[in-house]
Symmetry: C4
Subunit: 276 residues, 4 copies
Amino acid sequence: MPQGERFIERLKAFIESDGFTRFVMVLIVANAVTLALETSASVMAVVGPVLLLFDTFVLGVFVIELALKLLVYRWRFFTSGWNVFDLIIVTIALLPASGPLSVLRALRILRVLRLISLLPQMRRVVEALLHSLPGMASIVMLLGVVFFVSAVVATKLFGADHPAYFETLGGSLFTLFAIMTLEGWADVAREVQATHPYAYFFFIPFIIVSVFAVLNLFIAVLTNSMQEMQKAELQAEEELTARQSGVLLAELASLREEVSALRKAIVARSREETVP
Amino acid sequence: MPQGERFIERLKAFIESDGFTRFVMVLIVANAVTLALETSASVMAVVGPVLLLFDTFVLGVFVIELALKLLVYRWRFFTSGWNVFDLIIVTIALLPASGPLSVLRALRILRVLRLISLLPQMRRVVEALLHSLPGMASIVMLLGVVFFVSAVVATKLFGADHPAYFETLGGSLFTLFAIMTLEGWADVAREVQATHPYAYFFFIPFIIVSVFAVLNLFIAVLTNSMQEMQKAELQAEEELTARQSGVLLAELASLREEVSALRKAIVARSREETVP
Amino acid sequence: MPQGERFIERLKAFIESDGFTRFVMVLIVANAVTLALETSASVMAVVGPVLLLFDTFVLGVFVIELALKLLVYRWRFFTSGWNVFDLIIVTIALLPASGPLSVLRALRILRVLRLISLLPQMRRVVEALLHSLPGMASIVMLLGVVFFVSAVVATKLFGADHPAYFETLGGSLFTLFAIMTLEGWADVAREVQATHPYAYFFFIPFIIVSVFAVLNLFIAVLTNSMQEMQKAELQAEEELTARQSGVLLAELASLREEVSALRKAIVARSREETVP
Amino acid sequence: MPQGERFIERLKAFIESDGFTRFVMVLIVANAVTLALETSASVMAVVGPVLLLFDTFVLGVFVIELALKLLVYRWRFFTSGWNVFDLIIVTIALLPASGPLSVLRALRILRVLRLISLLPQMRRVVEALLHSLPGMASIVMLLGVVFFVSAVVATKLFGADHPAYFETLGGSLFTLFAIMTLEGWADVAREVQATHPYAYFFFIPFIIVSVFAVLNLFIAVLTNSMQEMQKAELQAEEELTARQSGVLLAELASLREEVSALRKAIVARSREETVP
C-alpha cells in the first residue's frame, strides 16, 4: 500500500471515529446556543465579538471536515444525500452576506440542522418522513390542480372588488391556502359575499374539497405506515404457519418411516417363506 | 369491411394514440399558463390578443377532439363519466359569456381540470376519493339533519338580536358551518351570549356533536381504506395457508399411495400363493 | 281470541305497516319545509296561518301515533330508547310556549329529529356513535378533571385582571374550551401575558395536554372500530384454517382407511395360511 | 412478631382498606367543590371562613395520610411514581403562599388531581398516555430543532420590523407555536409580508413542515396502539393454529400407532411361524 493511500485510510478512520462525531456534535450544540444569544442585542453588546469569533471557528471546523470528507470519499461523497445536505448548509454560511444577500446572514442558523444529519435516530425519522412522500404524490398533484384552477377563478371573479385577498394569482393562492387551513376563512367569505351574493357556492365547495383532499393525504400516509406494520405481521404469521406445518411434516415423516419399516418386515417374511 | 368503417377504425386508433394524448396534454398545460397570465393586467396589455387567440385555438382543438370521439364511440361515449366530464367543461367554455352569464368567462379555466381526466394516475385518485363517498352517506345525512334543525333553532332564537349571523336560514347555515370548522366560533358565541345568557347550551353541544360527527366521517373513510388493505392481507394469508397445506397434502397423498401399493403387493402375493 | 285483542292486533299491523311509516316520514319532511319557511317573515305574512295550521295537524298526527303505540305496546313501549326519544320530542311540542318557556316554540323543529328514529339506517349510525362513547369515558373524565383544575387556577390567577375571559369559573371553562379548540387562543394568551409575564407556562402546557387528550379520544374511537373489523378478520381466518385442516383431516381419514384395509388384507392372508 | 411490626401491619391494612380510600375520595371531591366556591366573591363573603377551615382540615388529613404511608412503606414509598406525585401536590399546598410565592395559593386546586392517582381506571389512562410518549421522542426532537432554527431565523429577519411577534427568541417561539396551531397565522403572515415581500417562503414551508411533523406524531401514537392490538391478534391466531394442528397431530399420532401395532403383529407372527 503506497503512503498516500495509507494516509487516506488513517484520515477515514479519524473522520468516522466516535470521538470526532461527538466533537462536531458538541460544536453544533454550542453554536446553536451562541447563535441564539446573538438574537439578543444586550448580550451582543457585551460578548458580541467573542460569539462571532466562535462562529467563525465553528464554520472553519465544518469547512475542514467537509474538505477531509471530499478528500477521503472523492465522488462517493455525493452518493449520500446527507453529505450533499451538509455541503449546501456550509456553502450558504460561506456566501458573502452583504447587500441584497444579507438575508443569508440569518440562514447561518441552518447549520444547526446538521444535528439531524449527524444523529442516526434523527436521520431515520427524516428518512421515514421522506419515505411517506411518494404515496402522497398523486393527491398533492390533484390538490395542486384544484388550487390553481380555484385561484384563477377567484382572481377573475373577486380580484377587482377584493384586491386585499385576490388581486394577483399569487395573492389568491395565499388566500386559498389560508382558507384551506380554515384560518379566518369566514371573515374572507363574509366580506366577498357582500359584493358577490353567490360567493358561498365558491367557498363552501372549495373548503369541502380541499379539506377532504388533505384528509385523504393523511390517510395515505397512515395507510402506508400501516402496510409496513402489516408486512411484518404477515411475516410473523408465515413463520408461525411454517413452524406448525414443520411439526406436522416431522410427524408425517416418522409415519412414513413406520410404513416403510412395515413394508420391509413384510418383504422379509415373504422371503423367509419362499426360501424353505 | 366497408370504407366508412375502416375510416372510423383509423380515427379511433388516432384518438387513442399516445401521441395525440400527449399533444392534448401539452395544450392543456400551455393553456393553463396563458389563462394564468390573463389574470395579470400588465401582461394582457402587451400580449393580450395573442393569449386570447391561443385560447380560442385550444378550445377549437377540444371541440374537434370531442366531435371525433362522439363520431367514433357513438352512444358508448356517454358510458364513461370522464367523457361526460370533458363534455360539460367544453360546453361551459362555449356558452356565450356576456350579460348575466359573464361569470362563465372565469370558468374557462375549468378546462385545466381535463388534466385529471387525461392522466390515468389522477383518474385513479379521483375514483378512489369518489369510491369512499358511499361509506360516508349516512353520517353526512345525519350531519345534514343536525345542521338543519340547529339552523332553524338559531334563526328563531338569535335571528332578531344578531342579524349578522342568524337573520335567515341560509345565514344561520353558513354561520353554523363556520362554527363547525371552529373558525371564529368563540367570538360569535360571546356576542350571542351577551343577549342570551344560556346560549352556551346551544353552541357547546353543537360543536361537540358536529365535530364528533366529522371525526366519525373521517374514521369511516379510514376504515374503508383499511378494509381494502385487510382484504388483500387475508388473500395473502389464504395463499400462504393453501401453499403450506398443499405441501402436507402432497406428502399425505404419496404416503397413501405407498400404503396402497403395499396392500396391492400383499394381495397379489397371497393370490400367487393360493394358486399353486 | 276476544274482540279487544283482535282489535289491538289489527292496530299493531297498521302502525308497523310500511304505508303508515312512509306517511309519517312524508309528514316530517313536509313539516321540516314549513318550519323552515316559518323563519322567513315575508313568507309568514302571506301564508303564515296555513303553515301554523299544518303544524298543528302534524303534531296531532304525532300525538295520535304515540297514543296508538302506547295502547298497542303498553309498558314494552318504554323498552325502546327510540320510543322514549319520540315521546320527549312530542311532549316538548305540546308544552305551553308562552312566558318564560317561549324558547320552547323554537324547539318545535326538534320533531324533525324523528327522521332519525324513523329511518333504520340513521338509527344504526346513531347507535354506532353511541356505542363508541363508553370507550371514551375514562379520557373524558381525565379531560374533565384537567379542565376543572385549570379553570380554578385561571380564575384565581387571571380573573381580577382579565374579567372578560376568566371572571367566573363558568367563564374560565368557556375560555378554556375555546383555547382547546385553538380558536383565538393566541390573542387571549398575548393579552394575559401583558399583565402576567409567565402566563405562557399556563397556556402552552394546557394546549398540549388538552389537545393530546382529545387526540387520544379520537384514537380510542378509531381503535374501537378497528377492533370490530379485526374480530371479523379473525373469524374469516378461523374459517379458512378450519376449511384447510378439514381437507387435511379428510386425507388422513382416507389414509387410515387404506391402512385399515391393509391390516385386513394381512389378517386374511394369515388366516388362509393357517387354515390348510 | 414484635409489637411495633404488628402495629405497622395494622396501619398498612387500614391505609389500604377500601373504606379509607373512599373517605379520601369523598374529601377530594368535597374539597373540589369548596375550592370552586372560593372563586366566587359573593360566596366567600358569606361562608368564606368555613370553606377555608374545611380546606385546612382536608390538607391536614392528606398530610397525616402521607405520613402514615411513609411510616408503613419506608423507602418503598418512593418506588411508585403516584406516591411521589401525591407528595409533590401536598408539598405545594404546604408552602408559604405569601409574597412572591402567592401564586402557589392558586395551585392548591392541584390537589384535586389526586383523584387521578386514587382511581385505578384514571391511573391506567394516564399510564397509557405516558406509555405512548417514547414513540414520539424522535419526532418531538426533530420538531424542536425545526422550531429553534425557524425562531432564530424569524427573530433575525423580522424582529426589527415586527417586534410584537418576533422581538425576542422567546417571542418568536410563541408566535411560531401559534402559527403551527394555525391560529391567526394568515394575519401575522400578511403583516410581515407588507415589509418583507418574500416572507411567504418562510411561513408556508414552516406550516407545511410543522403540521406534517405533528401529523406524523399523531400517526406514531396511533401506530403504537395498533401494534399492541396486533400483538393480541397474532396471539389469538397462534392459539387457533396450534389448536387446529393439535387435532391433526393427534390424528396422525393415532394412525402411526396403528401402523406400528400392525408391524409388531406381523413381526410377531413371522417369529411364531419360524419357531416350529
